[in-house]
């Protein structure tokens, strides 16, 4: 992160036409040109007249807070939604897409924030969905699909099995499939809506390489992200949205992290902590480990099952412990074991010094454990229900009087959570499925806010959360820790771990390899290095 504050787009992205000077930053031929686009959902004005443009061969970062309208613009580009007014030009030609098919025919491909794969189909089938090669009789050429998928995945370096069923894939691989699917079409415009939300640095590089490969062919890429570091690694220009309006478009080379953040969050006073956070992981108040003999909030010793091969770790009350590892290393499984979703074959669990054998989340929650899962759509939220209903869910018991559901209590709970987490929604009755991704994640956090958990398990807690809100969430996490909650957090964003945790345990192939103190880590790169090499016995480990 330290380094990423330096603009480095030119050296690392290596696009065919590096941006030379701001004056020429806006190219003459435009792939996409959007003027005064407006869109309302009921009373929500998601876009209030935005302009946007994309040039061939550029990576154009689209940034903004949760709910700023980024996805809305993209849905209009994709033909999923139609705008209320405004002009959309593709290659200088005015368009109004009425269906995704039309958009795709015009050469646009979109990777959605909300996964849009068919889970029951294979990777290959999803990649070729709706454009299967077939013979005159309409018979799908299956072997050709497999072959072309294989070739394609190899070309872009995606580590995916064409025949794997998407539903069986871990979240990040599903995301990768999604990206591959978009890249596969003969695109001129590629839109990536938070593509790296759950990818760790290694996998992220795979994606960046792929993006560079397509831009080299003259394709324009719209890149939406909340990981601002990526902006500097990849993009040539940045457009910032705020509350459905465009704040401005800037050459990345002229931008620094602090300015960018202030554009995104607007004229609010930046909390000192936030400034600090975006500039680097400067030291904050860190609760020092308690050595007075208090038992650890969580102790796992020798935990093993078919996926885990020896997990030993301790989280002290009030400590924020990190779990680092590559995708598939088993971090999620560790959290699932603590939450009672997996039953270990071997080993012991202890909570606050007492043996703990949860037979399911019911037991875990009763024991004071909370989980923010990695897939908020599948595991975190009932999308059709309201914010209030979702927030009440893990606390139904205390919200029950004589069998009655205490609506007033639930209302108070959700009200407080919305306030504390700054959830941007009409009110507590808003259906969570209509919230922007970041706000949905905040609702998941809201579920575990009150009463305080003894142990909080966080799996990729800030996926899709904007920079301002992320700091709010960090605040919530630190507050919980300060109140005595032990926190175990999984994140593929190593800077996030460095920012939050005093100790980080490295997980590899279902094993805890070692636990390091943050002071032992000089930089994010150093941690990255550790994550990838701390197990020397692992064959094929890169340097």
């Amino acid at each position: 992160m330290n380094n990423s504050t330096t603009p480095r787009a030119a050296q690392s992205a290596g696009p065919p036409k590096p941006v030379a000077a701001p004056a020429e930053a806006i190219p003459k031929d435009r792939l996409v040109e959007v003027t005064d686009l407006r869109k309302t959902y009921g009373a929500v004005r998601a876009l209030r007249g935005v302009d946007f443009e994309l040039a061939p061969g550029e990576v154009h970062a689209l940034l903004g807070e949760n709910g700023a309208g980024k996805s809305t613009l993209i849905k209009i580009l994709a033909g999923v939604e139609s705008s209320d007014s405004g002009v959309l030009k593709i290659f200088g030609e005015e368009k109004s897409f009425r269906s995704p098919a039309e958009s795709r025919a015009a050469g646009l491909a979109v990777v959605y924030q909300e996964l849009s794969l068919v889970p029951s189909l294979t990777v290959a089938a999803n990649l070729f969905l709706g454009r299967e090669p077939h013979n005159a009789l309409g018979a799908v050429k299956k072997s050709e699909i497999i072959r072309r998928t294989k070739e394609f995945l190899a070309e872009y370096g995606f580590p995916l099995d064409p025949k794997a069923v998407v539903a069986d894939l871990p979240f990040a691989y599903r995301q990768m499939t999604e990206i591959a699917k978009a890249l596969l079409s003969n695109v001129r415009v590629l839109v990536l809506d938070e593509p790296t939300s759950a990818l760790s640095e290694g996998e992220e590089e795979v994606l960046f390489d792929a993006v560079r490969k397509v831009t080299a062919r003259g394709v324009g890429v719209v890149y939406v992200t909340h990981r601002l570091g990526e902006v500097f690694k990849l993009s040539q220009r940045v457009t910032v949205f705020r509350d459905g309006l465009r704040v401005g478009t800037y050459p990345t080379a002229e931008m620094d992290m602090k300015t960018l953040v202030s554009h995104i969050i607007g004229p609010r006073t930046m909390a000192a902590e936030l400034v600090e956070a975006v500039q680097g992981h400067g030291l904050r108040h860190v609760r020092s480990q308690n050595d007075t003999g208090t038992p650890p909030a969580l102790r796992m010793s020798g935990i093993a099952d078919p996926r885990l091969h020896g997990v030993d770790l301790e989280v002290m009350p009030g400590e924020i412990m990190g779990l680092a590892g590559v995708i598939g290393s088993g971090r999620t499984e560790i959290l699932e074991t603590v939450f009672g979703l997996r039953r270990p074959r071997q080993g012991q669990l202890q909570l606050n010094g007492r043996p703990y054998k949860p037979s399911g989340p019911v037991d875990a929650i009763r024991a004071g454990v909370g989980l923010v899962p990695e897939d908020r759509h599948e595991q975190g939220l009932v999308l059709g229900d309201s914010i209030e209903q979702n927030i009440a869910l893990p606390r139904l018991k205390p919200l029950t009087r004589l069998g009655f559901f205490n609506r007033k209590g639930a209302a108070e709970r959700s009200h407080a959570a919305m306030k504390e987490l700054s959830i941007k929604a009409q009110n507590r009755k808003t259906v969570v499925g209509t919230l922007s991704g970041g706000n949905q994640q905040k609702v998941v956090f809201g579920k575990w806010r009150e009463p305080r958990c003894e142990l909080l398990l966080l799996d990729e807690p800030t996926v899709g959360v904007d920079v301002g809100a992320r700091e709010e969430i960090y605040g919530v996490i630190r507050q919980a820790a300060a109140a005595g909650t032990g926190v175990l957090v999984v994140s593929s964003d190593l800077s996030e771990l460095l920012l939050l945790c005093e100790r980080i345990t490295i997980v590899r192939n279902g094993r805890t390899i070692r636990t390091i103190h943050r002071d032992e880590v000089a930089s994010e790169e150093a941690l990255h290095h550790l994550v990838h090499t701390s197990n020397p016995s692992q064959p094929g480990a890169p340097s």
Binding site: G42, L341, I365, G384, D385, F404, N427, T430, V431
Partner: protein, 329 residues
């Protein structure tokens, strides 16, 4: 920060929200369905002089009682993301069990009542356990149970009906009146009230909605989704048993082959009332509306002297039309 908060307060006034009462009334279906229902009532009142009378409304109430009562339970099952095809068999089996218990006990109708309700609840429990413990689709479990229940009912007495002569039983569930309201209607209202409380005001109801809305998220939130589903099946089974008591009391006898095919009417009432077949949303009042709509159609068309064949066509068309209109924006 303040800006965000402000934005949300402002917007808070307007957007579609799930206000409790509104939700209670309409489930997923807009008010137009209520309008359609009102239109039907007006049309039948104009077409038949006897339609709009309290005695005819009591008829409709009695005729829809069985479907409404079971549909209340089915609403829970469907919202929880499952289905119960066995209710009609369960009704017959419970009726047989109640009637035989009354016979065996020398006319003790209380024992019969307990036997009938318990039979229904046990069938529901078996449905629930098989569905949730063995993860068999409830469609298949309850389809199997449909055959098993009916078969056992038929074998109990070798297809012979069991006569019940206990007048107190006839009165309590059939011909008597409680607070001036005919017993079956009184019982129906009671079931509706308790059902609405359980579904919309109790914690259990929240669990059912969450289970059907997203079972994984519900489980991750500490909800015992298996138990919620199982309880929904038990409620439905017990209510089918209650319906069996009412039918037995009205007929003065239990027949093993009774009520075949009733499950389709029950499910129709629930779906017509706006509950989603895919789970997660629905409402008791919608179910009542769905059941009354079918009852009013049957009654009104019969009073108008429409032939039974034409009734099939008209009923089918009205069901489609009512939903079609209520779906338009």
């Amino acid at each position: 920060m303040s800006q965000t908060a402000q934005a949300s307060t402002k917007a808070g006034a307007d957007l579609p929200s799930t206000r409790t009462l509104k939700n209670l009334i309409r489930g997923d279906r807009p008010y137009v369905l209520y309008a359609a229902f009102a239109v039907l009532i007006v049309a039948f009142s104009l077409a038949s002089p006897v339609f709009f009378s309290s005695s005819n409304f009591l008829n409709i109430g009695r005729q829809t009682a069985l479907v409404t009562i079971i549909a209340v339970g089915m609403t829970f099952v469907i919202i929880a993301g499952e289905i119960d095809l066995s209710v009609a068999s369960t009704l017959a089996l419970s009726g047989m069990s109640a009637a035989m218990a009354i016979q065996q006990s020398g006319g003790n109708w209380l024992i019969g009542t307990v036997a009938g309700l318990a039979t229904g609840a046990v069938v529901g429990l078996v449905n629930g356990l098989l569905t949730t413990r063995l993860s068999i689709p409830s469609f298949l479990v309850t389809l199997g149970m449909l055959g098993i229940g009916r078969g056992i009912a038929l074998m109990l007495t070798g297809t012979t009906p069991v006569v019940v002569n206990t007048i107190a039983f006839w009165d309590t569930f059939g011909e008597g009146a409680i607070l001036g309201i005919p017993a079956p209607i009184f019982i129906t209202l009671l079931v509706l009230g308790i059902g609405a409380y359980l579904l919309h005001f109790s914690t259990f109801g929240r669990k059912v909605f969450a289970t059907g809305g997203n079972a994984t998220a519900a489980r991750y939130s500490g909800i015992n989704t298996r138990r919620a589903k199982t309880v929904a099946f038990v409620i439905t089974g017990a209510l089918a048993g209650l319906a069996g008591l009412i039918l037995t009391a009205r007929a003065h006898a239990a027949r093993p082959d009774i009520a075949a095919g009733l499950e389709l009417d029950v499910i129709t009432a629930v779906i017509l009332g706006g509950t989603s077949l895919f789970g997660g949303r629905g409402a008791i009042l919608g179910t009542l509306l769905g059941s009354l709509m079918i009852g009013v159609l049957n009654n009104g068309l019969t009073l108008m002297g429409v032939s039974s064949q034409a009734q099939l066509v008209v009923k089918g068309a009205i069901i489609i039309a009512a939903v079609a209109f209520s779906r338009r924006k």
